[in-house]
Symmetry: C2
Subunit: 170 residues, 2 copies
DNA sequence: TATTGTTATACTCTATAACTATA
DNA sequence: TATAGTTATAGAGTATAACAATA
């Protein structure tokens, strides 16, 4: 479609905007009750936020899930796979290939526990600490900054609080 | 673990709660910066909300995605597959099997458009309208009610607004 | 007997290319 | 030549069962 650039003559947008709010005969579909459904907005927002995260951290090639594992290992060194995985809601079988990926990039290591030789003690390597530090900086300066610009710090904090409450108590 | 029911003697919880906030030597892992990462809480909250939705609508066997399609068909009858799918962020190839499922349950129908015989006009059947009405009632009385109890109506509305803004503008 | 890490496997989602019939 | 619906297919993510080593 070629849109006229002459302001006074192009009524297309006005007509369609009216139609959108009135009869629904315009180009744009009406979401209706969908926009009041929390799960719908939650999902769409989550996809957007993950997309932006991946884009911001692209130079380091870390997914949100990988970033969360590195953060947790930094804060909780010496834990085993079951503990790290379950804290993140990852099933133990699925955590194996994930760790394989991080370990093959030398970001973390598995070591047989001396106390319980069934379990693997997990730790970040120096490279893992370094990459995580760079990732944190990218997230803070690019990702979270954009969110603050969109919502403002107080609303962003309020949003975080409500989401955490839902994740905890719902 | 067997927890003592004698209040005065069971200090386990108190000791561990202290450890959690101090040294991180307790049972519970410290989330650290993870709890400040919006994407993380967003994802965990989304999973909880979808789980509850599925549970609430279980008698009708509708997923959140199927419910969103039915809602959109009700509000926008006579649209084609490309329009419905793209509005919901579903890729056209993936929408085919989804419609197959709904159509085989006789909740909606595809009809060759008389204007453009390439496209399928989509409409809810009577059964589709009926199931959707029942689903809406379950969502309103069980799902959304629980959310209102958790957050309160004003906060729930504020949350919805912020999520919609992120989905739109981020 | 129970638990840790692991393999195998299956099912859902998502993503891309290419075909057909129409335009 | 382009578009609508479709097929095939491949890759993530997620889920369960079962095995070896160890407790």
């Amino acid at each position: 479609m070629t849109v006229s650039k002459t302001p006074a003559l192009d009524l297309t947008k006005t007509v369609r905007a009216a139609a959108r709010d009135d009869t629904g005969e315009g180009d744009v579909l009406k979401l209706g009750e969908l926009s009041e459904l929390l799960g719908y907005s939650l999902k769409r927002a989550q996809l957007k936020v993950f997309d932006d995260f991946i884009h911001c951290v692209a130079p380091l090639q870390l997914t949100p899930a990988q970033f969360s594992v590195l953060l947790l290992l930094e804060r909780n060194p010496g834990r085993n796979q079951t503990e790290i995985a379950s804290t993140l809601g990852i099933l133990r079988p699925n955590f194996v290939s994930m760790l394989d990926g991080l370990e093959s990039r030398e970001l973390c290591v598995r070591m047989r526990s001396t106390n319980d030789r069934r379990s693997h003690v997990l730790m970040l390597t120096d490279k893992g600490h370094a990459i995580l530090a760079r990732a944190k900086k990218l997230v803070a300066t690019k990702h979270e900054t954009r969110l603050n610009e969109l919502l403002g710090p107080e609303k962003r904090e309020a949003l975080l609080g409500m989401l955490a409450k839902i994740a905890r108590e719902f």
